[in-house]
């Protein structure tokens, strides 16, 4: 797939919240904050499959690599991505808070590109 621009929404999830209490180095938290939800329509259009590894790059070139998972039907409109708020999503924020004290942490413009197909990794 070619590199394409999306809007990323990091947010709270049940597993992320439970994972904080269990411990941030435990599997539940680590797995949850590394799973990128993609609209099924975008996955079909781009030929992506569950577990594919993609790279997200923010506006200042900062990047992370995450596995993808299909969002539930109707959860996300095409063009929108979701990831549980945490260590990975925060790496995509810039240092600039635009005078507000808070970096833009939701609705971030990112590019997504395929790094490795899940079928290759396994």
């Amino acid at each position: 797939m070619n590199r394409e621009t999306f809007i990323l929404i990091p947010g709270r999830t049940t597993d992320q919240g439970c994972g904080v209490s269990e411990g941030k180095f435990r599997d539940k938290y680590q797995k949850e904050v590394r799973a990128l939800r993609v609209a099924p329509g975008d996955m079909a259009r781009l030929g992506l499959a569950e577990g594919d590894l993609v790279r997200l790059t923010g506006e200042e070139g900062q990047s992370v690599e995450v596995g993808i998972t299909a969002a539930k039907k109707d959860e996300l409109p095409e063009g929108l991505l979701f990831i549980a708020y945490g260590e990975i999503s925060s790496r995509l924020m810039t240092g600039d808070t635009h005078g507000s004290g808070i970096p833009t942490s939701k609705g971030m413009e990112v590019t997504m590109e395929l790094v490795q197909k899940a079928s290759v990794a396994t």
Partner: protein, 450 residues
């Protein structure tokens, strides 16, 4: 608050192997601060948390006694006194010391942290600055028409959520406070209410809504001003409204009619507003809309607060300094300037030269430039569990968990103070104990009497 007072809140240990029940314990995982939890305790474990939600159960059942030293200095186990001494040295030797976090600490500990910031002419900031800080700025700009969650439960017949997903962030919000309760003026509970949810994503909460409105990402401001215009009877171009918000004009007209027609409406808003494009302008828009609606009916707005005592942090820092977060004491008096004295900025701009973090994890949740700078300066970290931040700290304290091991006071998201009823004692010091010991040493170094 004296140490004698906090001692009065200390839990008593149960007999080994015996079950102990703590009634009406307070859950401090999220801003709902549910204070009706019955805990069953065996030794140093909670084995049941009756009435707690999924997040509350995870909170109570996973906080036992951490098998770690109470103090680490440069990664090595150390005596507490050594840690207190080193922490006080770091904070008094810095030219731009910052103190950050506090949203998972009781008010008594928050108060001591503000005192330390004052003594060292430092900057104090809380995690509010990276959640509802923009709402705090908006409160100052347009005011806040507010209410308690008790009013919501007893009176509100139109419940709106905007950019908030309580089904996952505040799981008992619907059942305990907003949608389901049978109230004084809502005898049929849910049947007497209309629920409207506005979001860019069809969240799990959307299932609870009578009306779900999915707007375009980054268009909250435009959507809110559409409603403000409709409230004032301003003519709008329906095509432009749909183009800007992604929602048909008629949907907004219908919503405004419902808002004007309700007996008592409330909008709970979340970080979908404050963390996205517009930030404080979005919060100002929702607060101004709420104010506008009071020309027609009773209406209030409440931010859905995340951490258990983030509201307490706003209150304590406000009553100590006059400002809710991002407060600098370098001139000997408090100054407030989000974007300058907020921790994301003091770190990313490489201004802070030492830090103390309390019950927060900036090395996991901050931008990369801010993380890199924090990792490069000496800092002290207090937390109940091991985190990326405690791992990198010059001095790390493992502290007892508030509400489980220690007492005190927290503020629910509607600014109602709630006492904590701890379950079992911890061998680790509380953050109040640690901060008090550091404050004493700071005062000694600075030659402050008393």
């Amino acid at each position: 608050m004296t140490s004698a007072t906090t001692q009065a809140h200390a839990p008593t240990p149960s007999e080994p192997g015996q079950l102990k029940v703590i009634q009406d314990a307070t859950c401090t995982f999220c801003g709902c601060v549910c204070d009706d939890i019955d805990l069953t305790v065996k030794d140093d474990h909670i084995i049941e948390a009756k009435r707690a939600c999924v997040l509350g159960k995870a909170w109570f059942l996973n906080h036992s006694i951490e098998d770690r030293p109470s103090c680490l200095v440069e990664g090595q186990p150390a005596m507490l006194d050594e840690g207190y001494d080193r922490a006080a040295q770091i904070l008094t030797q810095g030219k731009y010391p910052i103190i950050y976090g506090l949203s998972d600490s009781p008010c008594e500990a928050q108060r001591v942290a503000v005192s330390i910031a004052d003594w060292i002419k430092g900057t104090i900031d809380t995690t509010t600055s990276v959640c509802h800080g923009p709402s705090g700025m908006a409160f100052q700009g347009v005011g806040e028409v507010t209410c308690s969650l008790g009013e919501v439960a007893n009176r509100c017949d139109l419940i709106m959520f905007w950019g908030s997903n309580p089904a996952e962030s505040h799981p008992r919000h619907f059942t305990r406070y907003s949608l389901m309760p049978k109230g004084m003026f809502l005898p049929n509970g849910r049947k007497d209410r209309t629920c409207v949810i506005v979001d860019v994503r069809k969240t799990k909460s959307a299932k609870a809504a009578d009306i779900f409105i999915q707007i375009k990402p980054k268009k909250d401001f435009e959507a809110l001003w559409t409603l403000r215009a409709l409230a004032k009877g301003v003519d709008l171009d329906p095509d432009q409204v749909q183009r800007e918000t992604g929602v048909e004009y008629s949907v907004w007209v219908d919503l405004m009619e419902r808002m004007k027609g309700c007996k008592y409406g409330v909008i709970f808003f979340g970080m979908g507003l404050t963390m996205t494009r517009g930030k404080h302008a979005n919060s100002e828009a929702i607060l101004a809309l709420t104010r506008d609606m009071n020309a027609f009916t009773r209406f209030a707005a409440k931010p859905n607060r995340g951490h258990g005592n983030v509201t307490g942090a706003d209150n304590v820092v406000s009553w100590r300094t006059g400002y809710p977060f991002g407060v600098n004491h370098s001139r000997g008096y408090p100054r407030f300037n989000p974007g300058e004295y907020t921790t994301s900025d003091t770190l990313a701009n490489r201004e802070a030269d030492c830090a103390m973090t309390i019950a927060c994890d900036p090395l996991a949740n901050f931008s990369q430039p801010a993380r890199e700078h924090l990792a490069a300066i000496p800092f002290i970290a207090l937390d109940t569990k091991e985190t990326p931040t405690t791992r990198a700290a010059t001095v790390a304290f493992t502290v007892a968990t508030y509400g489980i091991n220690t007492g005190g006071t927290v503020y629910r998201m509607d600014d109602v103070p709630i006492p904590l009823r701890p379950a079992f004692p911890s061998p680790h010091p509380s953050d109040y104990d640690v901060l008090t010991a550091i404050e004493q040493r700071v005062k000694r170094i600075l030659g402050v009497q008393g």
